[in-house]
């Protein structure tokens, strides 16, 4: 049962973005539309899962002095793979994501999970932990993108939802600051239900 909680805890009470405040850097800029947000989410799930797996497999052989560099190299390699594959098979989306794919490397979630979890646990557990945290991150991304695309352009995945009823897109939603305010509101709602997380 512990394995299941590896997967589900990051979705709720221990969400990496809104509880641990990790990985927001790359989170918000890709949330203008749902499609890039989903692709970004999947990319992060892939990178967290496999960097956790690889580092967990290597954990007994890594010289401690170059630990950080080894982590960075493994993560960067995975990110480059993701970037190359996206460019070849999802060109449009990869252009929208532009530099943000590269920034998965410095996404604190990836490094954070490797450092805090994978280096001390077995490969399979680490892998699930990575998937879980990636999912937790992707979830926030999708929620933010949902509101921004719906109210900003009146569409979802580019399909007209409310614009047909005469809704005029609110451009403010498309500007970067609104992403931050939406995350603020998500944290507000989340902490209202999880009172133990509230700061005194």
């Amino acid at each position: 049962m512990k394995l299941n909680s590896n997967l589900t805890a990051p979705l709720g009470g221990n969400n990496p973005v809104i509880v641990q405040i990790l990985g927001i850097c790359s989170a918000l800029a890709v949330t203008v539309k749902l499609e890039p947000a989903v692709v970004m989410g999947l990319s992060v799930i892939f990178v967290t899962a496999f960097s956790n797996l690889v580092m967990s497999l290597l954990r007994n052989g890594i010289p401690s002095r170059i630990r950080i560099i080894v982590q960075l190299v493994v993560i960067a390699t995975l990110v480059i793979l993701v970037d190359q594959v996206l460019r070849a098979f999802a060109y449009d989306v990869s252009k929208q994501l532009s530099v943000y794919v590269g920034l998965i490397i410095t996404n604190c979630i990836v490094m954070g999970r490797v450092e805090a979890y994978a280096l001390g646990h077995k490969p399979w557990e680490s892998f699930l932990d990575g998937v879980g945290n990636g999912l937790g991150y992707a979830m926030i991304l999708v929620i933010v993108a949902f509101f921004r695309e719906l109210f900003g352009s009146g569409t979802l995945f580019g399909i007209d939802i409310i614009a047909r009823f005469g809704y005029v897109g609110n451009s403010l939603m498309l500007f970067p600051p609104m992403a931050l305010i939406i995350v603020g509101c998500i944290i507000w709602v989340h902490r209202s239900f999880n009172k133990d997380l509230q700061e005194k």
Binding site: V99, G102, I105, T106, P177, I181, V183, G184, I187, R191
Partner: protein, 201 residues
């Protein structure tokens, strides 16, 4: 003029925090007091000024297509090279500062490990790579861009810390205390920064 334009733009308009959300993790975590914010901001600016030009040179003379020889394109390695340069540089600075100036190390040192994974630094290098040939034409420009972006980040975190010091006296809803309100403030500051849009010198 172009260079001045680039400088002003990278501080105010393309502000790392407000326009691109770069370096948000440490931005939210370390903006509780003005003093630490100034320390971290200084460290980020310093590392940016050094790593952006370094990566610029690597990009121009090693990574870009045909740089090493006809038909050799190493641009797919840029992520890994950039992050390695940043990590190595941060490590180096840490060791040098520790050896020669223990006082500075005590003030700055605690922030240095945080910086290697600060997206603002990596973001600075990646944006530099995109701007090559458009607004960044030579090493000088890349120094200016690094400095501007660093200062922009510094400005943002110090302002944020000042606001958060004051906000402890306000009645913020319990669930919003801490990161929640910090996000909303950043958003509002971002809207305020939008007035700089379109400034052209």
């Amino acid at each position: 003029m172009e260079t001045l334009n680039l400088f002003i733009r990278s501080i105010f308009i393309d502000n790392m925090v407000f326009a691109f959300f770069f370096g948000m993790c440490s931005y939210i975590a370390v903006s509780k007091s003005v003093k630490t914010a100034i320390g971290l901001g200084a460290a980020v600016t310093f590392v940016m000024v050094m790593t952006v030009p370094l990566n610029y040179l690597l990009n121009q003379y090693v990574l870009s297509p045909d740089a090493l020889g006809e038909g050799i394109d190493l641009s797919f390695l840029s992520f890994i090279i950039f992050i390695a340069v940043i990590a190595a540089f941060v490590q180096l600075v840490e060791m040098v500062v520790e050896k020669f100036s223990p006082t500075l190390y005590n003030q700055l040192g605690i922030f240095l490990p945080l910086i290697a994974v600060n997206c603002a630094i990596m973001g600075g290098s990646l944006f530099m790579q995109q701007k090559v040939g458009e607004s960044i034409m030579n090493v000088g420009d890349s120094v200016v861009y690094g400095l501007g972006s660093g200062l922009g980040w510094w400005l943002a975190i110090v302002m944020m810390a000042a606001i958060r010091e004051k906000i402890t006296y306000s009645h913020v809803p319990a669930a919003l205390k801490g990161p929640g309100i910090a996000f909303i403030i950043t958003g509002l500051m971002g809207i305020a920064f939008m007035i700089f849009t379109g400034i052209q010198l």
